[in-house]
Subunit: 363 residues, 2 copies
């Protein structure tokens, strides 16, 4: 991002703008605030692709009637520790937090809780959800399937989403360990950024539309695909492919949502999938009480010890030594809470256009 | 394996030999049979490194009193859907199946069941366990931590095990989808095989003892380390590192077992870790009733559809097209059930030595 011009905004200002825009489009005040929370959490944590940069797309879908601004979330089935809910085609930013809270509530009583969600839409960053469970001394899990952009190993079509998985473990005095990762090698946002900068992408990230590896980001845009984590067979591409399937089956097939190549597209303008095998996309949330397994204080002290042991590890040549999962996002949040959120100018323009069309002020 | 001399044995003969050897070393008949089941399942499924090739090591540990042949597994804590058990330093091949069954039993009543296991030892292939849940129309999960051989991203020491994760989903008319993967780029067994054949290993698999990438398998043996799935930062090595931590915390820290660099070694001859932060190594098993989320028949039909859609995907150039996770192991099992299990000669020699010292016949 460094060489790209940006304009910086206080997180609070972005939050207020998004909430007011969501209210303008018919969301209740509490849903609008919740949706803004999830979006701005992404910007604060440095995951720029999943924050207010997506407002334009969300707003487009709500205003065109493709997303329901007032979803009535329905419980379809439950046991003491599992449930499935129908998100009523609401914003994932609204449906996701409610379903995640249901998983926490189930865990409170049964020790662990799992909620599959169908008929929903993109839910922002997975890391947002797992930190909610952590605040209850639980281990949080979150997954979602997404529209297809990743090729299966040995395939040459876009058949899987970036299908992220997140899991978080609370520490006692140290911060939580927060794993939040797409199951492909590199995020789509990195391809877009390379294209913008006129740079090549590394070998192992993508294939062109004929199924050959490419280092030209334009090839991905022109019908190519991203590669699963591991890139190729030799370096474990079957593992990233397997993880993407895991997320897809838990989020999509288990909830009654669409899966694989049939997951509906995020952006309104993109082509619709050829078949429907369910409703909307799907999420999968989990929460486990730590004291369902071990004294919570003992566990959190072990996490502290874990963090310190790995921080003290001998650095590989040319590096500053191992980080812990969640460190980069935490560091971004520390800086951005103080200094504001830098937005690239195309995003600023999009927000200004939304401001103009809705009358919600944006400075 | 193709160019290495082998001798082939019927799976039943290997099973009987292992069971009788385990009985010789003090296991009950049912535990011995169970342990042999897990071991031979690995050989049948083509995961040669985790089958009877490990008998010599298991037998060494039991005969030296390092592993308890008659473990009394104790329930330490439970909720309706979680439990922690102390494996009483038994063979993982005995403790693992019992704890896995507990997870299935919990799921039967609560919808989902999760069992963390401490004070246990290596448990064979993760894929064995998850197929048990599948037989109950459940989604099965299995993880274990293992002794350190993998470097954290940006570190240069062995601090994590190969820490596998497995998950399986039943199909209706199609076979189950079985994901069973170490969280490092390549299995240690592949390094050993390359060394044996005098071949180089691919870039991205390993580092030498100074922290530099290497293609010489001897460097790994001489104090180097394997790399996490993704290999380096650019290609997502932080993701494989994160997955290894996830498995380690769920299996180790959550159960009260050792974790990270402190997980005890598998082979008796290896150096003991410098600190103890728990008891033995740890496993983590899960089971989820499919009908806790959706009609089981509907889900299994969706899995069938999933399998067919991915099999029909356009092949990438030079490949036969996408496989489904579990296909290679299933194909190996089909062949080996008919034709027997090929063992490399050093393994045959080890089994003959066990036969000689125990008097259990081996042909």
């Amino acid at each position: 991002m460094d060489s790209v011009a940006t304009k910086t905004f206080p997180a609070e200002a972005l939050h207020e703008f998004c909430a007011r825009v969501f209210i303008y489009f018919g969301l209740s005040k509490s849903d609008a605030t919740q949706a803004a929370d999830v979006l701005v959490a992404a910007d604060l944590r440095g995951i720029d692709s999943h924050g207010v940069a997506r407002m334009s797309s969300y707003v487009g879908q709500v205003s065109e009637g493709l997303i329901n601004p007032k979803p009535q979330i329905k419980l379809l089935r439950s046991t003491p520790s599992t449930a499935t809910v129908d998100g009523d085609n609401g914003l994932g930013l609204v449906v996701g937090p409610r379903a995640n809270q249901m998983a926490i509530d189930l865990a409170e009583k049964a020790g662990a809780g799992w909620v599959a969600v169908m008929n929903t839409n993109h839910y922002g960053i997975a890391g947002y959800y797992v930190l909610k469970a952590v605040a209850h001394d639980m281990i949080g899990w979150a997954m979602t399937n997404t529209s297809p952009i990743v090729a299966p190993l040995w395939g040459m079509e876009r058949m899987l989403g970036t299908n992220p998985i997140a899991i978080a473990f609370p520490g006692k005095n140290e911060p939580p360990i927060v794993i939040d990762m797409a199951t492909c090698t590199a995020a789509y946002g990195k391809i877009e950024m390379a294209l913008r900068k006129g740079e090549k992408i590394p070998e192992g990230w993508a294939m062109d539309d004929r199924g050959y590896g490419t280092t030209d980001p334009a090839d991905v845009m022109a019908g190519g695909a991203l590669l699963p984590l591991g890139s190729d067979r030799e370096r474990g591409g079957h593992k990233g492919y397997g993880l993407a399937i895991m997320v897809d089956l838990l989020s999509g097939a288990l909830s009654g949502a669409n899966w694989g190549p049939f997951a509906p597209s995020f952006a309104v303008a993109q082509a619709l999938p050829t078949r429907s095998v369910g409703k909307g996309i799907g999420h999968f949330f989990g929460a486990m009480r730590i004291d369902g397994f071990i004294d919570a204080d003992v566990f959190k002290s072990q996490v502290d010890d874990y963090v310190r042991v790995f921080r003290a590890a001998k650095p590989a040549p040319g590096t500053t030594g191992p980080l812990l999962p969640g460190d980069p996002e935490r560091e971004a949040e520390r800086i951005r809470r103080d200094n504001g959120v830098p937005l690239i100018l195309p995003v600023v323009e999009e927000l200004r256009a939304i401001s103009k069309s809705t009358g919600v002020p944006f400075h």
